[in-house]
């Protein structure tokens, strides 16, 4: 199954830009460990991994009454704190949960990716 793993700098993990250099370095090490754990785990493949720019740099498009309205983003409060995402192939939810324990203490949403083929 394909999973989308959304990382929010919330709870015990402050937004990335508020971290000290040393904390950022420790965070990066955990992301590297996550990559490594995915690579060595049978049946798991990391398909995509991106860090996102700050929520305050988001631009929101909404279509209302057939007209697109452009505003300052992001579109929901928690979206402000989203710092990045992974897309990975894994055999089941428990495998993804276990792998995520390696990551910094983000608030994390795991969503199955629909197979549209």
């Amino acid at each position: 199954m394909k999973y989308f793993v959304l990382l929010a700098g919330a709870g015990e993990m402050p937004p990335w830009e508020e971290l000290t250099a040393a904390e950022q370095e420790a965070g990066m090490a955990r992301h590297a460990a996550f990559d490594e754990a995915c690579a060595t785990r049978p049946g798991v493949e990391l398909l995509s991994a991106e860090a996102l720019g700050e929520g305050s740099d988001a631009t929101t498009l909404r279509t209302r009454g057939g007209e697109m309205v452009i505003t300052d983003g992001p579109f929901a409060e928690i979206a402000e704190q989203i710092g990045g995402f992974y897309v990975l192939d894994a055999p089941d939810l428990d495998t993804v949960i276990e792998l995520c324990k390696v990551l910094p203490a983000y608030d994390i949403d795991i969503r199955p990716v629909l197979d549209m083929s």
């Binding site: 049978p42 049946g43 894994a90 055999p91 089941d92 939810l93 428990d94 795991i110 199955p112």
Partner: protein, 423 residues
């Protein structure tokens, strides 16, 4: 997908015997057969429908044609055929639904012919996965492992039948779509998951044992289903101490079911007719808890609760209760959990040991955390009455009556208030 499957009750009345046998098989074998079907087919929805269908067929046929030599095997084969037929139809229509995910190390169970093949642990863990809402976990576990009907589940959790059916369907769909896998977690993970399963079963028990709203004081049959589920889990994982403690706790509490109400009224522990307590269950509960050594985490919370229940259950009369011991267990539990409900129990115990004023003082710490709970007000009323503070007692009964939504408990509170006013 429909969730109409439930208790098999369609057998003709004139043929009592096969009907009773089928009922017994349903009670004893539903979970084992379903767990094997799920493991073999990896389709929750079809497995459940197929097994319901097989029981319905048994009801039709067995009374007239006689029982098959191996009733469980017949039921399994009939249900399995149903699933295979539907899988084939789906394949033809090009609409194959996704299968349950399985863990990498998972091995499907052997053929049913193997004596005692049992996959219920996997089924329980699947139902009680923390990615599902706790109430859905409870309902789904009772449904799939015991075959509790949608109607009974609706009554247990105080929702409409349609709401319960939708909740079960949603939970089953999430299991498949989110990829919650079949297969036993290992080591520390299994321990954590068993803690979660215990919480889920305990929730189902308390929903039946102490309903917060409604007309019934106690739905003993439904609480009993949770006790059965705990017993199944204990059979499957006899070495898991949290499961052992939970089963002891539930047995000890459930043993008092017949004494807890009289003519639809709540009978407090002190006034219960102890001869109606189920002594066989008490014995089993005491034996179970006697073998559990001190634990940590949730396992220790369950152990302490079971020890408290054990003190009550083994007191020959109410005055013989060892309240000092109970107070010590509550103090330990309070330190571990910080739970306001535990503090409430502790206040009662403290009042028994040190007098009502000490109990009242402990209750005052609960105003902030449980302001709208009728049991806080009810306990305060009772302690105030004992302390001779009759105005406080009167006001507290009034407050408890305003907050309480269970008719039987309200009647009990009203009686106490009336008695206070006529004294």
């Amino acid at each position: 997908m429909t969730s109409t499957s439930g208790q098999s009750s369609t057998c003709p009345d004139q043929l009592i015997e096969p009907e009773q046998i089928i009922e017994e098989i349903y009670r004893a074998e539903w979970g084992r057969l379903l767990s094997l079907l799920v493991a073999r087919t990896r389709r929750l929805d079809l497995a459940e429908d197929g097994l319901s269908e097989a029981f319905a067929k048994a009801c039709e046929r067995w009374p007239g044609r006689g029982m098959p030599a191996n009733p469980s095997g017949w039921l399994f084969t009939t249900a399995y055929r149903y699933v295979v037929d539907h899988l084939r139809a789906e394949a033809v229509a090009g609409r194959k639904a996704p299968l349950l995910a399985v863990r990498a190390e998972w091995v499907p169970p052997e053929d049913l012919a193997v004596e005692l093949a049992d996959d219920r642990l996997h089924l329980i863990l699947l139902c009680c996965h923390p990615a599902l809402a706790r109430e859905s976990q409870s309902a789904l576990a009772l449904r799939l492992v015991l075959g509790t009907s949608t109607e009974q589940l609706a009554r247990l959790f105080l929702v409409s039948r349609a709401t319960m059916a939708a909740r079960l369907t949603r939970a089953k769909r999430k299991i498949v779509r989110a990829g919650i896998p079949l297969g036993t977690p290992l080591g520390e993970e299994l321990r954590n998951r068993l803690d979660e399963v215990c919480r889920t079963i305990y929730l189902a028990f308390t929903a039946g044992y102490t309903p917060m709203v409604g007309v019934e004081l106690l739905r003993a049959d439904l609480a009993g289903d949770a006790v059965r589920l705990a017993a199944v889990l204990h059979d499957l994982e006899p070495d898991a101490t949290q499961v052992r403690s939970m089963l002891a706790l539930l047995l000890l509490q459930h043993s008092r079911r017949d004494a807890r109400q009289r003519h639809g009224r709540l009978v407090p522990l002190a006034d219960q007719d102890r001869s109606t307590w189920h002594q066989d269950e008490i014995r089993t509960g005491l034996e179970l808890i006697a073998e559990v050594e001190q634990q940590d985490g949730y396992a220790e919370e369950l152990r302490l609760q079971a020890l408290i229940a054990a003190e009550h259950a083994s007191a020959a009369t109410a005055p013989a209760t060892d309240w000092a011991m109970i107070e010590r267990y509550y103090a330990d539990l309070d330190a571990r959990t910080g739970s306001p409900i535990v503090r409430l129990g502790r206040a009662v115990a403290v009042a028994m040991v040190e007098g009502p004023q000490a109990g009242l003082a402990m209750l005052s710490t609960l105003e902030a955390t449980l302001p709208a709970h009728h049991r806080v007000a009810a306990v305060r009323a009772e302690l105030a009455q004992r302390a001779g503070e009759l105005d406080l007692a009167d006001a507290s009964y009034e407050r408890a009556l305003t907050l309480c939504h269970n008719d039987a408990e309200r009647a009990h509170l009203q009686e106490k208030l009336d008695a206070l006013r006529t004294d």
